[in-house]
Structures are given as structure tokens and as C-alpha cells.
Symmetry: none
Subunit: 239 residues, 4 copies
DNA sequence: AATGAATGAGGTTTCATTCAT
DNA sequence: GATGAATGAAACCTCATTCAT
């Protein structure tokens, strides 16, 4: 009987792994029959372990999340707080890129019985939260970022990676995007009055003429134009 | 006869608009029967105008793209180059947020007969290209960004917006992400030798202690830490 | 109004002729939409003239039968009784070969409202009957053949012609089969009766060597072979 | 497991047999739903065994052909060459009469994936070929007949039988037609060659009055009528 | 009278799920 | 516990027929 149980567990694993691959390859639309076939088991066996298709999809996602929790722990253990978070986010996006359909099933469709996912999802969010908190305490990440921002950012990153026709540039784009989380370059004054950037809101951030980004400087009169050219042009216009 | 044609066109519009809504609400999985029902027409009528489901989905997407091309033109007409691009990207993401499933059908699944979409897609890409070129010539956007980066970025932005449980913060996150495209703060030296940042590769870009982003300055000795705090902390650790 | 009527009649003709072709080419399964398309008219026009598909099929068959009645009269007018019948049967089979599906719709399926066909069918059977009676009175055809035998024989002939992969041999097979109707070799007493062409029935009708049809001549010794070549070949074989 | 397989096989048989009947009764137009209903199984079961309608039709035909191959072997085993062929052809026509629609699906429509039928069809043609060859070697059948002639002849025979409103006369007509294959009356020299039954071909094979088949006897004067009744009737007529 | 859009029942096919073996 | 055959609802698509223009 123990042997039987071992058999059953092995079968469960097989089905789960197969489903993961097939979902990734052909989308969530594949029939369970196909999965059973690819797993080399009968349709009934799939149903014994996963009483419905939704449950199977959830199990696949939970498995994925679980493995990501492991990755989070590894990153937390071996890197300084900020880099741990960025490393983890990148890894999540990389390993999830092929699984877009599965992820979307969860994120997009609100009709999912969140309860079932619960365990894995909470552990995942917990891990994410810890990494974020540490990174923020280390000052590596903007203070106004929350866990749910990260979730959304992950979804976005996966979408970018999966969508970009050029894998290398897709990767690069994701890194560029993640950098948006980093604490922006700050000055002494800013650092001394944390949370109150001097010009954060009052100073113009873009050239009033051409829209170019203006450099942020903590002191002095904030510029209104990106340079003499634009200033002149605006002056002309104002007459 | 002309009247009959008008009727037909109206019907086509109705079906198209209904399909747009229903796809957005319930995903691409909905049956054509349901769409027909919601549109208040017979199943055959849907079929008459869109001979297959794929064709209907394409039509919905094409319609959407077409409207976006209009938006692109409006932005190009009424804003300075850089802001036109950013405004357009934001609008695309905002108006596409509800249509995630439709967009994904296109971006995710490579099996689409691109030919059919062709017209609308090319016009969309053309518009995107023009906005990007102008923005880059105005120096408002990084020179190393390409159109396909923008496509991927859009997909990512839509995913973020749709995924974030808090709409407001989702919006904010998207804006933050788009800013990654902006030309990074540069100095005179950099501006004079465009494309050749002084320390671009040799200087450390992140604080060696906390990982915070380091300001890039074209002259002087590049800093290793983000500030005295980290320098001190590193010093302590090195003893 | 008279003009309108002429238009309508012309339309009816067009539809009928088109239906004939299309049925012959693609079977009875084709949709009326296709026929309307090929005829260059609207679906409604088809229905105005032929209120249902069955009625259209019947009309096509009736038209065909009507034209065959004409052929029967021509044969009756220009050939000796026996040959008139055989010529007519061959012509029927030849012209019906492409129309197998239509014919079958009538002969096979007992569910047809015979009443509607009535007129054309009766005229056709009448013509057939006359040809048969004359041929039998001339002694060219077995006395025990009835009109319904001929109908069945026609169906069989059409099937053979349509089925045989080799058109030429199909034709030959049909002729061979029709010959089964001819009066079998009879005794001297029978042959001597007046009003009978001398060799009409006793003379061999095909070359005993190669099976080619032999010309029928009322006088002289009937040939056994189609020419010197076959005669020589048979002579050699008999040694 | 074996039991399940046995069940499945039984089900397959049921569906096949039902389809055979229903096709014969109502034509190839019947819906698979109807067949499933008549077979007492679900629509899915039909589909499991025959993944498409075409495949089911083919299977029905293949089954039929297979059974005919058996019949061919039986005839070859128990009759002299010539009679074996004729007996077989008659049996084919008789048993196929009800199945006209199925046969036509094959013979009429060239669009069939012959590959699938292949096996059964080739075996059938092989059997036909053997019977024909033997019959020709025995001199019972014209030397210029080929297998494809027989195929077409069979189609024609089936059409005749199915079409004739009077079954008995239909049968008679078919026999008459098949006789067209027999070696035509030959000359003395030919007749005297050894190994040939005396009256095989020259003696009348059917009653000159009523067309009934005459017994073939190798010796004695061959009868001209099937019995005294017909002889008397013919006598009366000749006066 | 002609057009062709609209209709909707019905056809084939698919597949999640159950159940006998 | 595993198997895979059976089920039947539902999807997509077709087309004979009607009807507004």
C-alpha cells in the first residue's frame, strides 16, 4: 500500500510537470486529454489527482509560486538587500516568461477562487514583502513602492519579455524598467529631510518648451528650460 | 439598396462593438452565440460579417488599433515631441487596459495570420515610429530605444495596469515605468559627445553597499558609494 | 410590365441553367447561395422562381427530361425503329453522364413528390414507350422488354459511364450492355418472317476477334470480322 | 482492461452496423446524431471510433468490401471459373443494392482519400481480378474485358437493381446485362477447341419466350425454352 | 421584380467529466 | 489506484428560407 501510495505520488508529479510544460507551450486551451496523453496516463488518473481543470491550473501555478519562494530565499541569503530584490524580480520574470498564459489565468481573470491558491500565493507575497522591506530599509528602493506594485510590475515584466520579438532587447528593457524602482539620485538636502524632496513637486521636471527631462538639482533656482535655445524660443513666443 | 447596405453596416458596427465589450469583460473564450445574443442579432448575422471567430477577434483588434492611430495623430499635433510620445503611450495603455485579452491574443500567440491585421498594425507602428523619432530628435527619449521596445513596453504597461489591484497606483506605476525611456540626466560633456558617456561602463552604477543608483557625472572621480553613510558602513565592514 | 416579365423569364432561365451546371459539377449538396452567386443573382431571386430547393432540383430534372423528349422525337424521325431506340438510349446516357447526382436524386430517393415531376416524366416515358414499341414491332428488340426495364437500364448506363475511369471504355461497355436488349439469335422460321431486315439479329454485331462494332448491312453475307487484319489473326489462331 | 476493450469493440461494431443500415435507408445525408441515437450511444462515442463522418462512411464501405472479398473466395472455391465470376457479380449487385448511396459516395465523388480505403479496395479488386482471369482463361468471358470494366458494370448493375420498380424484373435485367460479358457466339473452329464445354457460349442461355435462365448441360440438344408452357406459347405466336 | 441581409435550427466536432472494468 | 470508453452539453459553422429595402 505504501508502494501504491508512492506510485500515486509519482503519478501526480508526472501529471503536474507535464501540465506545466503543455500549458506553457500551447496555452490554457489544451484539453486534459492531451495532457493525459503527453503524461502517459489515462484521463481518469488526471482526474483522480486534480478533480477539475481549474484545480489543475491552480496546482501548476502554486507549484510555480512555491519554487519562486525558494528562489526568494536564496536571493535573500546571498546578496545585499537591494540586489537581492532586483535579482529575484529578474529571475521571476525570466522563469515566468514562458508561462504567460498560466500567470494570466490568475492575474487577469478575477473569477478565480483565490482561496485555493491561498497558501502558495501568500507565501510568495510574504517573501516578496520581506525582500522589498529589506531593500527599502537599505535605501536601495524607493520608499513609496508597495508589494502590490511589485506584483503588477512582475506581470508587466513578463509581458514585456514574452512580447518582445528580440529576446536580448526584451531582457534589457525589463532591466531598464526595474530600475525605475531604485531610489532616485538624491542630494544632501534631500537625504537630510527624508521623504521631502525639495523640488519634488514644485519644480518643473520637463522643459516647458521641448519637454526634455530637466536635471533635478537640490539647490538653486530650478531651471525652466533645458537650455538657452529653448529659453530663447519661449521668449520669442511670449512676445 | 443603399438603405439595406446602411442597415448592414449598422449591424456590423453593433456586432463589432458588442464583441469588443464582451471580449473585454469575459475574455476571448466567450462563445459567438453569446456575442450574437448580446448584440441582439442571430448567430448567422455575426457569421455573415465575420466568417470566423478569429476574423472577429482580428477585426476588434484592428478597430482598436485604428482608433489608436487617430490618437497618435492628435498627440503629434498638439504637444511637443517628447510629451506627445509619452502622452500617447499613456493613452494607449489606459484605453487598452480593459482589452488585455484581445491584445494578448495578438502578442502572445504567434499563430496569427498577420497578413489580415497588416493594414491596421502597420499604420499603428508607423504612427509609433514617427512619435518616437521626433521625441528622440528632440532629445526627450533615450537614443537607444527602438519601436519594438515600445511595443513590448506597451504590452507590459497594459499588463501592469490591468493587474494592479489599485487603479490609481497602477497608473502611477505605469508612469514611473515609462520614465525609464527618458533621456537620463546628462552633463555638458555628455551632451557634447553624444552616445559616449564618460564612465558609462567603467564607473560603478550602483552603491557598492546599498545598491542605490549612483548619479552619473561625466567628470571627476566616480563615487563608489551613495553617500557618507554607506561609505562609513563599508569602511567598518572592511576592518 | 411586359419588359419586366421578359426580365423575369430570362432570370429564371439563367438560374435554371446555372443550377444544372453546378449540380452536375458539385453534386446536390451545394448551397443555393452558391448557385445564386454563380448565376449572378440574389438569393431571393432564386426563391422567387423556385420556392424551395427540392422544387429547383425537380425543375432541373424536368428541363433535362424535356430536352430528352425532343431528342427522342428527332431519333424517331430519322432512323429505322431499332436504331432509333438504341441511338436515343445512348444519347440519354451520354448527356446524363455528368448529371448523375441529379438523376439519382430522382431514381434513388423514393421520397420525391412524383406529382410535381409528373408532366415531364410522363412525356419522357411516353416517348420512350413509343420508341420501344416500334423497335419491338420491327423485331429489333426482345419482346420481353418493358419501359420500366429501359428506365432502369438508363440509370445503369449512366452509372457505368460516370464510374468508368476510362471514358472510351465506359462508352464501349455501355454499348455492349445495350446490345443485351437486342433480339437474341433466333431460328430459321423466325428469321424468315417478312418485314424483318435479313441480318438484323442473326448476324454477329461485333468483330469476333477484337470486339469492334460491325456495320449492319441488310444484304450480302454479313462480315464476321472488322477487317482483313482481324480475319487473318483469327485464321492463324484457328490452326 | 481486456473487458473494457471488448466493450469498446462491441460498441464499434454496433455503430458500424447501425451506420450501414441508416446510410442504406436514408442516404448519406443523415446526421451522425441520428446514427448515434439509433445505435443507442452518445455522439461522442461515434466520434471516438470514427473521428469524422467521412471516416465512418469509409469504414462502412470497407466493411462491405471486406465481406465481398469473402464472397469472392467462396465463389472461386465452389464453381467453375465462368460461373464463379457471374455468381459473384450477381451477389455483389444483390447485396449492394440497398447500399447504393454508400457506393456512390465512393465511385461518384473523386475527392475521397483513396489511401484510407486502400486495403479493402485493393483486396476487392484483387479478388475480382482473379475471378476474371480464370473466367477468361476458361473462355467463358470475352477476352477484351478488363477489371475496371467490371467495376463500372457493378456500379451499373447496382443502379439498375435499385432503380427498377419491379424487383424481379430488375434482377432479370441485371442478369441479361451481365451476359454481355460472355464470349460471343463463335465459329466452328473455335468451338471445337478442347477444354471448352460444348454449349457454353453458343447455346441460348435464356428462355426465348420469358427470359428465364436455362440450365446448362454439356450434352444433348440445348433447350430453347424453359418448359412446355413457353414452348407452346412461342409456337402459337409463330403461326 | 430583385436584392442580399437576417434568421435560427441543425450539422459536425470537441472536451470536461464520469464510471465500468 | 489506473485505465480509457462513454457521455452529452456546447462550441463553431452552414444554409434553406424569410423579409425589409
Amino acid at each position: 500500500m505504501a508502494a501504491a501510495r508512492a506510485d500515486a505520488r509519482r503519478n501526480r508529479e508526472t501529471v503536474l510537470r507535464t501540465a506545466m510544460c503543455v500549458f506553457a507551450e500551447e496555452g490554457l486551451g489544451v484539453s486534459l486529454g492531451r495532457i493525459a496523453q503527453r503524461a502517459g496516463v489515462g484521463a481518469g488518473t488526471v482526474y483522480r489527482h486534480f478533480p477539475s481543470k481549474d484545480i489543475l491550473v491552480e496546482a501548476v501555478l502554486a507549484e510555480h509560486l512555491e519554487s519562486l519562494v525558494g528562489a526568494a530565499d536564496r536571493w535573500a541569503a546571498r546578496a545585499v538587500p537591494g540586489e537581492a530584490l532586483f535579482g529575484f524580480l529578474l529571475e521571476v520574470i525570466d522563469t515566468s516568461a514562458g508561462r504567460l498564459p498560466v500567470c494570466e489565468a490568475i492575474t487577469t481573470d478575477g473569477s478565480w477562487p483565490r482561496a485555493v491558491l491561498g497558501a502558495a500565493e501568500q507565501r510568495f507575497h510574504g517573501a516578496l514583502e520581506r525582500l522589498l522591506r529589506d531593500a527599502q530599509q537599505a535605501g536601495a528602493v524607493r520608499a513609496d513602492v508597495r508589494v502590490d506594485d511589485l506584483s503588477a510590475l512582475l506581470a508587466g515584466g513578463v509581458a514585456m519579455r514574452s512580447t518582445h520579438r528580440d529576446q536580448t532587447r526584451g531582457s534589457r528593457l525589463v532591466r531598464l524598467t526595474l530600475d525605475a524602482l531604485r531610489t532616485p539620485p538624491v542630494t544632501k538636502a534631500f537625504r537630510d529631510r527624508p521623504g521631502k524632496p525639495r523640488h519634488e513637486t514644485t519644480a518643473p521636471r520637463h522643459c516647458a518648451e521641448c519637454g526634455a527631462r530637466l536635471p533635478v538639482r537640490p539647490t538653486g533656482r530650478p531651471p525652466r528650460y533645458c537650455g538657452p535655445t529653448c529659453r530663447q524660443r519661449a521668449h520669442r513666443r511670449s512676445r
